[in-house]
């Protein structure tokens, strides 16, 4: 069968397909379990859903795709199975022996999203595959490759090469022509390009039999198809528009296959998709498409603004900060800092709901933010984030009425049916586990309070432990949509909670009670005196004399060093719950204190600029004692204006002061 039949012979599965599907799935599940025994049938089926729902090609091809792609889907998330099946068929059909004998070896040229290269090359055992990359690099196979004969890849035939090396490899491998050119989800960063220009090195290698495949967002492929039809009406063109499903999200995508040309066509590919937008939406514009939503009326103790209009509607929750049992500092503490660890503060609970709302990540070296827009592209100006720092805004233009316009770009747009909410309020926030614990994970409570079957929007590079915590709160893969930094997400109703300030409250800390209650830890033995390691820290706020601190605590007081990031969730819970004294630098490592109770004493070390009420607010909730030992920061006086409130300088601690604090903590 020709690869193009996959475009036509695909349909939703029905009862008659089940016997075949089941045999294929059983094989795949057995292979998956042999590799990772923790993969349950239930999790396997969840991830294989896209493969099960559709019939791909004829019955034999469907068996092959069901086995291979259900396995791949269990090891690589967010794979567009349909696209993978088509590009794989295009490569495997180049193995055709008679074609090789008569026409000579052919190669496959791949250009686009990395993970699809291996999928294209699956079982393409004699076909040379060249992945176009800026520089030559070693082949790294995905985890699933060659784990079973069902997932065989010949790495010897795969190459990552820059354009100028392609003709050299082609000649060296005796390839007379290019059998297929696969342009798969090209990056938005590359901007629009002409195929003829980009693949000029293929001159003389294209024949009437060369099949071109352009795949990506429907909008991008439709433009390219229209170009082709206008400029090369003689080309044999097939076009498939389809919805790719990624859990609760769907993407409108398309694949075009064409052949019958003697050269690379001049057509232009505009990667990704674009939407016009304007920066004119303000909170005074609240209407049925942009509403203010209050939550936690029954679950948050606080001051209510239930009568207020618009975004002022919500609940102010008070957070107490526990007075320290010990405070020592090597440098003068600014008055503001002393106040911060002494005074209670408030967190505002409120949310907006945007009908057909679009979530727009924007980040570069200087900023990182989410923008929110209505379905018509009206970007919200004055709630939570500042659009004027984004390139979408600065590269935009003013119209005669003074309204700023811009263009939203995305590699793709994921459409989520029903309500959805990002767990983070900026795209990279989860990278700092402390922010994840304080300001992100507790948002699950908002979801519950709203009483909606909400889809949670997450970055696609979450830590395993972060995902485990979510799953334990009932938000496993079936309720999550992952988004890459260059993707847009649009939901029927997009919820946008007001970002919380840094600090724990009774409301936000509750999720950790729930997580701990669901995990048995009584069998785990853990140390009583713990030093939270700083050894893996490679960025800012380094405790430069950490080794001296460690030596003193271990030798003089019998502390043991733990690295929470290396512990399992149950080990982590046990460590913090069982400890009597914990010493650590202010940060995520100390916020495992969410699992501690009144019997633990905490000593937080930090510099005089980084004085935070986070652990103090948690101490007030959990009832443990807290002591502070402030050292001295490495910070120029020229930076004094920017040191507060959250300076992130490297620092040193007076070891003797810390020793006194520990003595104080362990004294009866």
């Amino acid at each position: 069968m020709d690869a193009r039949t996959l475009l036509y012979r695909c349909r939703s599965a029905d009862e008659e397909d089940l016997p075949r599907k089941k045999i294929a799935l059983r094989t795949a599940h057995a292979i998956a379990q042999a590799i990772d025994p923790s993969i349950t049938a239930s999790a396997f089926m969840d991830r294989a859903a896209n493969v099960v729902k559709r019939v791909y090609g004829g019955s034999a091809q469907d068996s092959y795709i069901t086995t291979t792609m259900s396995l791949v889907s269990n090891f690589s998330e967010n794979i567009d199975v349909y696209l993978a099946a088509v590009i794989n068929a295009l490569v495997v059909q180049l193995n055709f022996q008679t074609r090789i004998f008569l026409d000579g070896n052919q190669f496959a040229l791949f250009d686009g999203q990395d993970e699809y290269f291996a999928l294209a090359m699956l079982h393409g055992n004699v076909t040379m595959g060249i992945h176009l990359t800026p520089e030559a690099r070693q082949v790294t196979l995905p985890r699933w490759a060659n784990i079973s004969p069902a997932l065989e890849i010949n790495a010897d035939r795969m190459h990552h090469l820059p354009p100028d090396l392609v003709p050299i490899y082609q000649k060296a491998n005796g390839c007379r022509s290019v059998g297929t050119v696969l342009v798969v989800n090209p990056s938005v960063d590359s901007g629009e390009f002409s195929l003829a220009e980009r693949y000029s090195f293929l001159q003389g290698s294209v024949t009437q039999d060369t099949t071109f495949c352009v795949a990506g967002p429907a909008e991008m492929v439709f433009h390219a198809a229209a170009d082709l039809q206008r400029m090369h009406p003689q080309a044999q063109l097939n076009l498939k528009a389809y919805r790719a499903l990624f859990g609760r999200a769907e993407e409108y995508r398309a694949i075009m296959l064409f052949s019958g040309l003697d050269a690379v066509p001049e057509i232009v590919v505009r990667p990704g998709l674009s939407r016009p937008c304007e920066f004119d939406l303000k909170l005074v514009d609240l209407d049925e498409n942009l509403t203010s939503v209050s939550y936690g009326n029954d679950t948050i103790a606080g001051r209510r603004n239930s009568e207020a209009d618009g975004p002022a509607r919500g609940v102010w929750e008070k957070a107490a900060v526990k007075a320290p049992f010990h405070l020592s500092s090597s440098a003068p503490l600014p008055a503001e800092a002393r106040e911060r660890i002494s005074s209670e503060f408030e967190i505002f609970h409120s949310s907006l709901a945007i009908r057909d709302g679009i979530l727009i990540p924007s980040q570069d070296a200087h900023h990182c933010t989410f923008l929110y827009a209505t379905g018509e592209g009206r970007v919200l100006n004055d709630y939570g984030s500042d659009p004027s720092v984004t390139p979408i805004y600065t590269e935009g233009w003013l119209d005669e009425q003074g309204v700023r316009h811009g263009i939203l770009h995305g590699r793709t747009l994921k459409r989520v049916r029903g309500p959805a909410m990002p767990l983070m309020f900026t795209p990279l926030l989860h990278k700092w586990h402390s922010h994840f614990m304080i300001q992100c994970l507790p948002r699950i409570r908002i979801v519950r309070d709203l009483g909606l079957d909400m889809t949670i929007l997450l970055p696609d590079d979450m830590r395993k432990k972060q995902l485990e915590m979510l799953e334990r709160l009932g938000f496993g893969p079936s309720k999550i949509v992952m988004m890459a930094p260059d993707e847009l997400v649009q939901a029927d109703m997009l919820y946008y909670p007001w970002p919380w300030r840094l600090g724990f409250t009774t409301y936000t800390s509750k999720v950790y009670d729930e997580i701990a209650a669901g995990i048995e830890t009584s069998h785990i033995i853990s140390p009583k005196r713990i030093l939270i390691s700083r050894e893996s820290r490679k960025s800012w706020r380094n405790l430069i004399n950490y080794d001296s601190v460690r030596h003193m605590l271990v030798e003089d007081f019998g502390f043991e060093v733990i690295s929470p990031e290396k512990l399992s969730l149950s080990e982590e819970i046990a460590a913090y719950a069982n400890a009597e004294v914990v010493v650590g630098a202010e940060g995520a490592g100390l916020y495992g204190a969410v699992f501690s109770g009144p019997k633990t004493k905490y000593i937080t070390v930090c510099d005089e600029d980084y004085v935070m009420p986070i652990l103090g607010s948690l101490a007030a909730i959990r009832g443990f004692d807290i002591g502070y030992v402030f050292g001295e920061s490495f910070r120029s006086d020229r930076d004094v204006e920017r040191r507060l409130p959250f300076g992130h300088a490297d620092f040193i601690i007076d070891v003797d002061r810390l020793s006194q604090a520990v003595r104080h903590a362990i004294s009866p």
């Binding site: 193009r4 039949t5 475009l7 036509y8 012979r9 695909c10 349909r11 939703s12 599965a13 029905d14 009862e15 008659e16 089940l18 599907k21 089941k22 799935l25 059983r26 599940h29 349950t40 049938a41 239930s42 396997f44 089926m45 969840d46 859903a49 099960v52 729902k53 004829g58 429907a218 909008e219 439709f222 198809a225 229209a226 039809q229 063109l237 097939n238 076009l239 498939k240 528009a241 389809y242 919805r243 499903l245 769907e250 409108y252 398309a254 049916r417």
Partner: protein, 186 residues
């Protein structure tokens, strides 16, 4: 909803999302629209899609090429044949395949028919034996090679009398692929 069980674990799969392709592919025109809708027929076989697909094929200058490509490439289904019937109706209303509205009761491509002295034998799982007459169509040339045939049920199979398909090579034991299609009112 589709229910699948493996190793004692049952999972339900909601299939309701394969709808409304016509809305988001609306920007396509002419042949491109015909090709995109042809490729989607088996996933989106609503009356709107069938009508829109038939119209865009029938209006194209190379409508016969597009029709043949559809019949040769797609998995044959009542929706695919409903499109074919409407396209032929637009160009040759007297043709046996020409028909307005509705989908045929069944339409399936037979790849594994064999002949013996009594006729051409093939299986059509799920098709009731009450159907006695149908059209046998060559997907490569639906206009010239389309015959009314008798369908005789015989031991979970159907048999077409040899003489009913005029365009078959009667010397072949294994028959070429052909489409069997029965109308709603027959």
């Amino acid at each position: 909803m589709l229910q699948v069980d493996i190793d004692g674990m049952t999972a339900d799969f909601d299939l309701s999302h394969f709808q409304e392709v016509e809305k988001w592919s609306a920007s396509l025109e002419g042949q491109l629209r015909a090709k995109a809708l042809s490729a989607s027929l088996n996933e989106h076989s609503s009356e709107v899609i069938i009508e829109e697909c038939a119209r865009s094929i029938a209006e194209a200058a190379n409508w016969f090429f597009l029709l043949t490509e559809l019949l040769v490439t797609a998995e044959i289904s009542p929706a695919v044949m409903a499109v074919a019937q409407r396209v032929v109706q637009a160009h040759n209303p007297a043709h046996p395949l020409a028909r307005k509205g509705g989908q045929p009761a069944f339409a399936v491509e037979i790849c594994d028919a064999i002949r013996d002295s009594s006729g051409i034998h093939f299986r059509m799982p799920g098709v009731p034996s009450t159907f006695s007459e149908a059209l046998a169509v060559d997907p490569q040339d639906a206009l010239s090679r389309c015959d009314r045939v008798r369908l005789n049920p015989a031991h979970e199979k159907f048999v077409i009398p040899l003489d009913d398909i005029t365009w078959f090579d009667k010397n072949m034991m294994a028959c070429p692929s052909f489409i069997i299609l029965a109308q709603l009112d027959r």
